[in-house]
C-alpha cells in the first residue's frame, strides 16, 4: 500500500516536472518563432536582447558574452544576414533572462552545507 502511494507520488512529480519543462521550452520556442524573419524582426529581437541584458545587469547578473553576442547580432543585421542576427539576438536575450533568474533565485544568502 505504502509502495503504491510512493509510486503514485513519483509518477505525479515526473509528469509535473516534464510538463513545466515542456511549457518553458514551448514558450521560448514560440517567442523565437514569433520573430519575423525581416530586418524589422531582427531589430525587435536585438532590442529585446538589450532589454534582457539591462535587466540582468540591474541585479549584477549579466553574463560575460551577452554584450558580445548582441554586437555580433547587430553586425549580422548590418550585413543583411537577418537569420543570423535573429538567432544571435535570441541567444543573447535568453542569456539575459537566465542571468536575471539566476540572481533572483539567490536573492537571499544561503550558505552551503560545507560552510557551517
Amino acid at each position: 500500500m505504502q509502495k503504491t502511494k510512493y509510486l503514485g507520488i513519483l509518477v505525479l512529480a515526473t509528469i509535473l516536472i516534464g510538463g513545466i519543462g515542456c511549457a518553458t521550452a514551448g514558450s521560448e520556442k514560440s517567442a523565437a518563432m514569433k520573430t519575423e524573419m525581416t530586418a524589422d524582426g531582427a531589430k525587435q529581437a536585438i532590442a529585446a536582447a538589450k532589454a534582457a541584458q539591462k535587466k540582468a545587469a540591474s541585479v549584477s547578473g549579466e553574463w560575460r558574452d551577452t554584450g558580445k553576442i548582441i554586437k555580433a547580432a547587430e553586425k549580422a543585421l548590418k550585413e543583411g544576414d537577418v537569420k543570423t542576427a535573429i538567432k544571435l539576438a535570441n541567444k543573447a536575450r535568453v542569456q539575459g533572462e537566465r542571468g536575471y533568474e539566476q540572481m533572483m533565485a539567490q536573492k537571499d544568502l544561503r550558505l552551503p552545507a560545507y560552510f557551517k
Binding site: 545587469a57 549584477s60 547578473g61 549579466e62 553574463w63 560575460r64 558574452d65 551577452t66 554584450g67 542569456q95 537566465r98 539566476q102 540572481m103 539567490q106 544568502l109 544561503r110 550558505l111 552551503p112 560545507y114 560552510f115 557551517k116
Partner: protein, 278 residues
C-alpha cells in the same frame, strides 16, 4: 506572566534564527579556518599564506625554483623609483603615507568618513589626486610596480582586517562581500566558494584549485600567464570571466567588499607579496 514568558520565548527564537542566518565575522573566520584545517590536516595554518603551493608539492618545487630568481624583482625596483620620485608639487607618496612604504597590512580597511572599504590601490590614487597627479589605471601598468614595492616592504606584517562595530555600514559591506563570495554567477553557475572552498585542492584540467585561506596574502603577483605583475582585482576579474560572468569594475563596490570579506578570513596570516604564480 504568560505574556512575559511568550515574549521571552519569541525573542529567544528570533535570536537563534538570526544567529543561524547571520554569523558574526569572527564566527565566519573560525568556520573558514576550521574547514581548511580539516580538509588539509597536514598543512600548518601559516602555510596557507603560500596559496596553492601549500597543498601542491609538485607545483611548489617549480615555485621554489622560480623564487630563486624572482620574476617580480624588476617591478619592485620600478616601484621604489615611483615611491621616491617627487610629484610635480615636490611632494612624494611618503607625504601621504608617513609610515610607508610598509603599509600593505593596513589595507583593506573601513573608512568611516567615506562610508566605504578603502583598498591600497584606491589610497595610492587618492594620494596622486590630492597632489594634482593623474591617477593610475587599476588593473594593468605602473600601479603594479608601486604595489609590488609596498608589498615587498610589508613582508612579515600580519593580515589584520578590522570590521568596526561602531559603524553598521562596515558590517553591511562585509556581508555584501560574503554574499558575493557565495553567489553562483555566470553561464557556468559557479561561486567563488565552489572552486576555492568546496573544491580547493581538486584538479580543474591541469591546475589545482587554490584554497581561499591565504588568497590575499601574496598580491600583487607575477603570473607567468600574464607575463607581468597584476593585482588582486585583476585576478577577481579573471575568475569571473572564467565562469562566464561579466566582471565588475576594479575597486568598485562589489570587488572592494569582496576583498574586505576575503582578506578578513585570512586574518593572522603573514603577508608575503609580491608572489609568483603560474
Amino acid at each position: 506572566m504568560k505574556k512575559i514568558l511568550l515574549m521571552s520565548v519569541s525573542m529567544l527564537t528570533a535570536l537563534v534564527i538570526s544567529g543561524a542566518v547571520m554569523a558574526s565575522p569572527e564566527e565566519d573566520r573560525a568556520i573558514f579556518q576550521k574547514y581548511f584545517k580539516e580538509r588539509f590536516p597536514a598543512v600548518p595554518t601559516e602555510e596557507f599564506a603560500n596559496g596553492v603551493y601549500s597543498i601542491d608539492p609538485v607545483g611548489r618545487e617549480n615555485w621554489e625554483a622560480i623564487e630563486e630568481f624572482p620574476p617580480y624583482e624588476t617591478f619592485i625596483d620600478a616601484g621604489q623609483e615611483m615611491w621616491e620620485k617627487p610629484f610635480a608639487n615636490g611632494k612624494t607618496y611618503k607625504d601621504c603615507f608617513p609610515d610607508g612604504p610598509a603599509i600593505a597590512g593596513k589595507y583593506p580597511h573601513w573608512d568611516k568618513k567615506k562610508g566605504s572599504v578603502i583598498t591600497l590601490p584606491m589610497a595610492l590614487n587618492a594620494c596622486l589626486k590630492a597632489n594634482g597627479e593623474k591617477p593610475l589605471k587599476y588593473k594593468k601598468g605602473p600601479i603594479n610596480n608601486i604595489l609590488s614595492y609596498i608589498a615587498y616592504e610589508s613582508r612579515g606584517q600580519v593580515t589584520n582586517v578590522v570590521i568596526p562595530k561602531d559603524d553598521p555600514r562596515a558590517m553591511e559591506a562585509y556581508e555584501m562581500g560574503k554574499k558575493f563570495y557565495f553567489t553562483k554567477r555566470g553561464q557556468l553557475n559557479f561561486s567563488c566558494a565552489n572552486c576555492h572552498l568546496q573544491n580547493a585542492g581538486m584538479r580543474l584540467r591541469t591546475e589545482i584549485l587554490s584554497p581561499a585561506l591565504g588568497h590575499t596574502t601574496h598580491f600583487p603577483v607575477y603570473r607567468s600567464k600574464w607575463g607581468t605583475v597584476g593585482s588582486l582585482h585583476r585576478r577577481f576579474t579573471g575568475c569571473n570571466k572564467q565562469v562566464r560572468a561579466k566582471p565588475f569594475k576594479a575597486h568598485g563596490e562589489e570587488y572592494r567588499n569582496l576583498e574586505y570579506f576575503l582578506t578578513y578570513q585570512s586574518n593572522g596570516l603573514e603577508l608575503n607579496g609580491p608572489g609568483a604564480r603560474k
